[in-house]
C-alpha cells in the first residue's frame, strides 16, 4: 500500500461527496416535474412521446398499477433482445458476420439485461453484431437503469407523501429519467471516452500486420456510446469480453477514474433526492454515511490483500503485489478500488479479473453483493435496498425502547417489516440455494476452472452476482451451459423482481399513512447513533446469512494459501 494509493481513494471520496448535492438537486427537480435548463429543448420531445404513446402525464398511478406498468415494459424488453439475438444473422450492422445466438444464451442475456445484471455469458466481440450491441443492449442499459431510479423515487414518494393513494406515473418517470438525466450525461460522457481512445465506429474489424509479421484482427465497434450508459447506469455489461479491462473499453488512467466516479454518481445523488423529498437533507446524508463507512472498510481490505500478493508467487521472489489478471496502466490500487466500487454498486463491470484476486481481496466483492449491493448500490436499486435495511433497523430500535417505530414521520408497522424481511430473505434463498444445487450436480461442477475451495467460490460468486443483479464474475467458471444459463437467469429474475415488488408494496402502504410530527420520543435518524445502528443491522443480518458459505470458500482458501498450499 502506498501514499499515492490512499490519496487516490481520498480524492475519489471527495469527488463523490461533492457531486451528491448538485445531482440530488437536479434529479429532484426532474422527478417533481419542474423546469430544468434542458426543458426548452426536451419538453417538446417529451410531450410528443406522451401524445404518441397515449400517456396522460397528469394522471398518477396506484403502487400496484405502477408496478404492473414496469413489468409490462420489461416483457417487451425481453422480446426485443431475444428476437434480435436470434435473428442477428439476417439483420444489418453485422460486419463480423456473427451467426444466431443459441436459445438458452439469448434467454439468459435477455433476462440479464432487463434486470440490470448484464451477466456476460456471451463473448461480446466474438458473439454479437453491432445491431444487438446498440438496439438490444445499449437501449436496455438505459431503460433498466431508468427503471431502477424511478422505483427508488416511487419508494421515496411513499415516505414523503401523506394520506395519498398514488406514488407517481411510471411512464412519465421513465421518460423524464431517460431524457433529462441519462441521455444528456451520456452524450457528453461518450465523447469524453472517445477522446480518451475508445473506438466509436460501425466499420469492420481491423486487420493489422504486426511488427513481427503476424496477422492481428482487432475488434472495434460503437463502444463509447455503450460504455457511457453501461457505467452511469451501473449496468456493467461489456462491449468486449474482457469488459473494462480491455484497452478499448478503458484506455487510460483518467478514463478509469471517471468510470469509477460514474458508477457511484447517480446512486449517491439519490440519497440527496431522498433527503430533499422527505424535507430534511440530513436524512439523506445519514444514509450516505452508512454507505461511506462500509465502502471504506471494503476498499481497505481489498487494497491490503492485493498489495500483499499471493504466497505462491511471493515465494518466487516476485514483489509488487498480485498482478495476475490486472492491467499495468491501472496497477494494484486502481484495480482494487474498481473491484470494490463495482460490487458496492450493482455495476459488475471489471477492470481486473476477480477470479484472480487474492482470497480475501475477492471476498470483499462477494460480501458487497451478498449484503444486497446497498453501498451506494445500483442506480435506484441500492437506495431501495438500503431503505429496506433502514426499516428493519428502525424496527429493531423500536423493539429495544418499546415504542412503535417511526421513520421520517411514518409509522413502521407489521406490513412494512414483513415486506422488508421478504425482500431481504429472498436473496440468500437464491444464491445459497442454487450454489448448493450446483456443487452436487456433476455437469455444473465440471464448469469450475479452479480446483479446491476456489472452485466453490466461483460458483457462489456466480449466483450471488446474478441474484444481486451485479453481473461481475469469477470468470473462469464456464457459465455458458444449459444449466447455468437457466439457473442464473432465474436467480437474476427473482433477485430483481422479488425485491422490487415488496419495496413497491411498502411505498404504497407508506404513501397512504398520515405523517406524524416528530416528538421528544422520536428516535433521531440523522445522527451517528442511527448510522451505527444501521451498519450493525446490515452486518449482523448479512453475517448470519452468508458467513458459513464464506468459510467454505475464500476464508479456507486464504488459510490454505498462507500455508503454501496449491490445488
Amino acid at each position: 500500500m502506498t501514499a499515492i494509493g490512499w490519496i487516490q481513494i481520498i480524492l475519489y471520496c471527495a469527488i463523490i461527496v461533492a457531486l451528491t448535492k448538485p445531482l440530488g438537486w437536479y434529479m429532484t427537480r426532474v422527478f417533481n416535474g419542474e423546469r430544468t435548463f434542458l426543458s426548452p429543448v426536451l419538453r417538446p420531445v417529451e410531450a410528443g412521446l406522451y401524445r404518441i404513446s397515449g400517456v396522460d402525464d397528469k394522471r398518477e398511478q396506484h403502487w400496484l398499477t405502477y408496478t404492473v406498468a414496469m413489468l409490462l415494459f420489461h416483457v417487451g424488453g425481453v422480446l426485443i433482445i431475444y428476437g434480435l439475438m436470434r435473428l442477428q444473422a439476417f439483420l444489418p450492422f453485422n460486419p463480423a458476420a456473427q451467426s444466431a445466438v443459441a436459445e438458452d444464451l439469448s434467454f439468459n442475456t435477455a433476462i440479464s439485461f432487463i434486470t440490470n445484471t448484464n451477466w456476460q455469458n456471451y463473448g461480446g466481440e466474438s458473439t454479437l453484431s453491432y445491431l444487438v450491441q446498440m438496439v438490444g443492449l445499449t437501449h436496455q442499459n438505459f431503460l433498466s437503469a431508468a427503471t431502477g431510479i424511478v422505483l427508488a423515487v416511487a419508494l421515496i414518494r411513499g415516505f414523503a407523501r401523506a394520506s395519498m393513494r398514488t406514488v407517481g406515473n411510471f411512464w412519465v418517470d421513465v421518460t423524464r429519467c431517460t431524457l433529462y438525466i441519462l441521455l444528456p450525461i451520456c452524450i457528453v460522457y461518450a465523447l469524453f471516452l472517445v477522446w480518451q481512445g475508445m473506438p466509436q465506429t460501425l466499420g469492420d474489424y481491423v486487420e493489422a500486420i504486426t511488427l513481427e509479421g503476424a496477422r492481428q484482427t482487432i475488434a472495434v465497434g460503437p463502444v463509447a456510446s455503450q460504455v457511457a450508459i453501461k457505467m452511469l447506469g451501473t449496468n456493467g455489461g461489456g462491449f468486449f469480453n474482457a469488459n473494462a479491462a480491455h484497452p478499448f473499453e478503458n484506455p487510460t488512467a483518467l478514463s478509469n477514474f471517471v468510470q469509477m466516479i460514474s458508477i457511484f454518481a447517480l446512486g449517491a445523488g439519490l440519497t440527496n433526492v431522498f433527503g430533499r423529498m422527505v424535507g430534511n437533507q440530513r436524512q439523506g446524508w445519514a444514509i450516505f454515511s452508512v454507505m461511506g463507512v462500509l465502502f471504506l472498510a471494503g476498499v481497505a481490505v481489498t487494497y491490503w490483500a492485493e498489495a500483499n500478493g499471493t504466497t505462491a508467487l511471493n515465494a518466487l521472489g516476485l514483489t509488487g503485489g498480485n498482478m495476475e489478471g490486472k492491467e499495468v496502466r491501472f496497477g494494484i490500487i486502481a484495480s482494487s478500488m474498481f473491484a470494490v466500487i463495482t460490487t458496492d454498486a450493482s455495476c459488475g463491470a471489471v477492470n481486473a479479473m476477480h477470479d484472480s484476486l487474492t482470497a480475501l481481496g475477492g471476498m470483499i466483492p462477494l460480501i458487497n453483493m451478498q449484503l444486497g449491493e446497498i453501498i451506494i448500490g445500483g442506480v435506484g436499486a441500492g437506495l431501495y435496498g438500503m431503505l429496506l435495511f433502514v426499516v428493519l433497523a428502525i424496527f429493531v430500535a423500536g423493539l429495544m425502547v418499546g415504542r412503535t417505530p417511526e421513520y421520517v414521520g411514518k409509522k413502521i408497522e407489521a406490513r412494512e417489516v414483513k415486506m422488508a424481511m421478504l425482500a431481504i430473505l429472498v436473496l440468500p434463498l437464491m444464491y445459497l440455494g442454487w450454489t448448493a444445487v450446483a456443487v452436487v450436480f456433476p455437469p455444473a461442477v465440471a464448469s469450475m476452472a479452479n480446483a479446491g475451495p476456489h472452485g466453490f467460490t466461483e460458483v457462489l460468486y456466480a449466483y450471488t452476482s446474478a441474484t444481486g443483479n451485479n453481473g461481475s464474475a469469477f470468470a473462469g467458471l464456464s457459465g455458458n451451459t444449459f444449466f447455468y444459463n437457466l439457473t442464473l437467469a432465474s436467480a437474476m429474475f427473482v433477485g430483481r423482481f422479488f425485491m422490487i415488488v415488496p419495496a413497491m408494496a411498502i411505498a404504497g402502504s407508506l404513501a397512504g399513512k398520515k405523517s406524524i410530527p416528530p416528538s421528544n420520543g422520536t428516535f433521531p435518524t440523522t445522527g451517528g447513533l442511527f448510522v451505527g445502528l444501521v451498519v450493525g443491522v446490515i452486518l449482523i443480518i448479512g453475517g448470519l446469512t452468508f458467513f458459513p458459505a464464506l468459510a467454505l470458500g475464500p476464508i479456507v482458501e486464504h488459510l490454505a494459501m498462507t500455508q503454501g498450499a496449491v490445488f
Binding site: 397515449g54 415494459f73 437501449h139 441521455l183 511488427l211 484482427t217 474482457a242 488512467a253 479479473m353
Partner: protein, 204 residues
C-alpha cells in the same frame, strides 16, 4: 390496467429508437468528425500499412524486440470448434487466465517463466508484470522495470549500445497523470517502433 398496454408497447419502441439507434449513431457521427483517429481505434500505420493499434498489445517473441506481458487469450481450435487453443494477443477475443491465488497451474507456469528470465539476466529481480497475464490479454504496457530488465538482451540482439537502448526506454516511460492517477508504464509497441527506427538510422 389495460390502458397501460399501449404505452408499454409504443413508448418502449420509441425509447428504443432514441437510446438504441439515434443516440449511438449520433455519437458515431460526431466522434467521427472531432476525434476521427480515436474513433477508428487509434491505429498505427508504418509505410502506409496498419501495424496495430496504439492501445492494443501485440505479441513479440524475437530477441530483437521488447516483449509484452504473457497473454492468456484463445482462439477456436481449427480442428474442433468446441475447443479453444492458446492464441496470445488475439484482439478479436479478449480474455484472461482466471486462475486463482491457490492455482497450481498458475504457480507452475510463473515458476517456469521466472526461471527463464533469471537465466537471461542472472542476479536481477524479475518484475512481476513480466510473468503474470493481464486481465484483457491485450495489455499494451509493461512497467518501466520490465522494460529496463530487457535492455541487455535487446541491445545485444540488435548490436546497439546498451546506453542507446536504455535511453529509448526512458524516452518512452509515461508517468502518472498529474503525478497521481495510473501507474508509470511503457507502451511496448511504441517502444519497439522507436527501436526499429533507431536501428534503421544506425544502419545507414
Amino acid at each position: 390496467m389495460l390502458r397501460e398496454i399501449r404505452p408499454a408497447v409504443v413508448l418502449l419502441l420509441l425509447l428504443t429508437l432514441i437510446t438504441g439507434l439515434a443516440y449511438p449513431l449520433a455519437i458515431t457521427a460526431i466522434a467521427g468528425v472531432i476525434f476521427p483517429d480515436q474513433a477508428q481505434g487509434s491505429l498505427i500505420r508504418r509505410d502506409g500499412k496498419v501495424v496495430g493499434s496504439a492501445l492494443i498489445g501485440q505479441q513479440f517473441r524475437s530477441d530483437q524486440y521488447f516483449h509484452g506481458r504473457p497473454s492468456a487469450t484463445t482462439a477456436p481450435d481449427p480442428n474442433d470448434s468446441t475447443k479453444t487453443v492458446p492464441a496470445p494477443y488475439n484482439a478479436a477475443n479478449s480474455g484472461a487466465s482466471n486462475l486463482g491465488p491457490t492455482s497450481k497451474a498458475l504457480a507452475d507456469r510463473v515458476k517456469d517463466d521466472v526461471e527463464k528470465l533469471k537465466a537471461e539476466k542472472p542476479g536481477s529481480p524479475v518484475p512481476v508484470d513480466l510473468v503474470t497475464t493481464s486481465a484483457s490479454g491485450l495489455d499494451p504496457d509493461i512497467s518501466p522495470e520490465a522494460a529496463l530488465f530487457q535492455v541487455p538482451r535487446v541491445a545485444k540482439a540488435r548490436n546497439l549500445p546498451e546506453g542507446r537502448v536504455r535511453a529509448l526506454v526512458n524516452d518512452n516511460i509515461r508517468g502518472r497523470l498529474a503525478g497521481l492517477l495510473g501507474e508509470p508504464r511503457v507502451n511496448v509497441l511504441a517502444l519497439n517502433l522507436a527501436l526499429d527506427a533507431a536501428s534503421r538510422s544506425a544502419g545507414k
